[in-house]
């Protein structure tokens, strides 16, 4: 009985601790620090938003200074980890200011041990590429694109894990 109680407490503590922080398993992995983030203009990013392979791509537009983005980032990390075997890939497109890449973005990625691929989108003429990425996007962050070949859905909203997973499930099968 006591043993049962202890294991229950342990599980509860584990679940609770996972809620807010980065999943524990990532901490046990060898932490590979990154030193650079690839900077792309829209023309260079575009091919990553319209791949025609078998994978389902979850593309999140975010920035380290965007509090709601940072809050939902662990859900994208979790989706990337849990659905990796189901051919799902997460891409994090940062809209941080170029001058803050080394002072904010890279330290953030390393500190939180972000596993998904991060690229920086650095381009002016936002009017053109915001409309090209999705006609309904007002330009507010965070925003998310899920696509599989030519099936695409765009979300100008924040996600919790369950909502994100439900949206992703529409692309599975």
């Amino acid at each position: 009985m006591i043993q049962k109680f202890i294991s229950f407490t342990l599980i509860a503590a584990f679940l609770f601790s996972c809620k807010k922080e980065i999943p524990k398993e990532t901490l046990t992995k060898e932490i590979a620090k990154i030193a650079t983030v690839k900077s792309l203009n829209y023309q260079q990013l575009k091919p990553l938003l319209e791949k025609q392979d078998d994978k389902i791509y979850v593309v999140n537009f975010w920035a380290t200074w965007c509090a709601p983005c940072v809050k939902e980032l662990p859900y994208f990390e979790k989706i990337g980890a849990e659905y990796k075997s189901k051919n799902v890939e997460v891409l994090l497109v940062s809209l941080d200011f170029p001058k803050q890449v080394s002072t904010k973005l890279i330290p953030f990625i390393n500190k939180n041990n972000i596993q998904s691929e991060v690229v920086l989108l650095d381009d002016f003429n936002e009017d053109i590429w915001i409309k090209a990425i999705d006609a309904t996007w007002s330009g507010a962050l965070p925003a998310t694109l899920i696509y599989h070949k030519n099936k695409r859905k765009f979300y100008e909203q924040t996600f919790d894990y369950e909502t994100l997973e439900n949206e992703l499930k529409q692309f599975l099968n």
Partner: protein, 202 residues
């Protein structure tokens, strides 16, 4: 028990739909007539558009203290006011954020920031967040140009085509729009987009 559960689910669904319906879809479109508002300025006085008897229109900008894209545009907003106030199109800035959801966007913080940056225009606090949903503002900064007498929305969007970096600007959307209005010409681009921070709500 089951009914309670169902009621709860229903209540949640209703909450979710209302939460989403306050989003941008219902805001003003080009050509719409806007309603005047009365909001508190950083000098503690109430400001309405009707106060500006001589204005030909307004450059209404939803902006805030904390969003880096807003901060990156502060000097440009000052410059717009300097250029167009005397021509009849003053800048009216409105902070749409709920300070409870965005630390640093409180009314006192707004006073500090306006003083630091030498804002020459009213910087209004959207208390209770009643004004920005009417406009359909979705982010900061977000510009709405309105012309009198019919208080018609003439332009919605970005200040220019390079929000992050003022040195890379090649197209000044707001200036072009106001210049067109002043010249009695048609505005070439009435709707543009730029990256911005979501308006903070609790």
């Amino acid at each position: 028990m089951k009914t309670i559960k169902n009621t709860l689910i229903l209540a949640m669904l209703i909450l979710m739909t209302t939460a989403f319906s306050t989003r941008t879809e219902n805001g003003y479109k080009i050509g719409d007539t806007i309603e005047d508002f009365s909001l508190k300025n950083i000098d503690d006085k109430m400001v309405s558009l009707a106060d500006y008897k001589k204005a030909k229109g307004f450059i209404i900008i939803f902006t805030c203290n904390m969003c880096p894209y807003s901060v990156a545009n502060e000097d440009r907003i000052n410059a717009l006011d300097a250029k167009y106030k005397s021509k009849g199109f003053p800048v009216i800035a409105i902070n749409p954020n709920d300070p409870k959801a965005s630390k640093g966007d409180g009314f006192e913080d707004m006073k500090v920031r306006a003083k630091e940056k030498g804002f020459t225009f009213p910087y209004l606090f959207d208390e209770g967040q009643k004004v920005y949903p009417k406009f359909g503002a979705s982010k900061t900064p977000h510009v709405f140009i309105v012309s009198k007498k019919s208080m018609k929305v003439e332009y919605i969007g970005a200040i220019d085509n390079s929000s992050k970096n003022p040195d890379a600007v090649t197209e000044k959307y707001v200036e072009n729009a106001v210049d067109a209005l002043l010249a009695g010409k048609k505005i070439e681009k009435t709707e543009t987009k730029a990256i911005g921070c979501t308006i903070k709500v609790l």
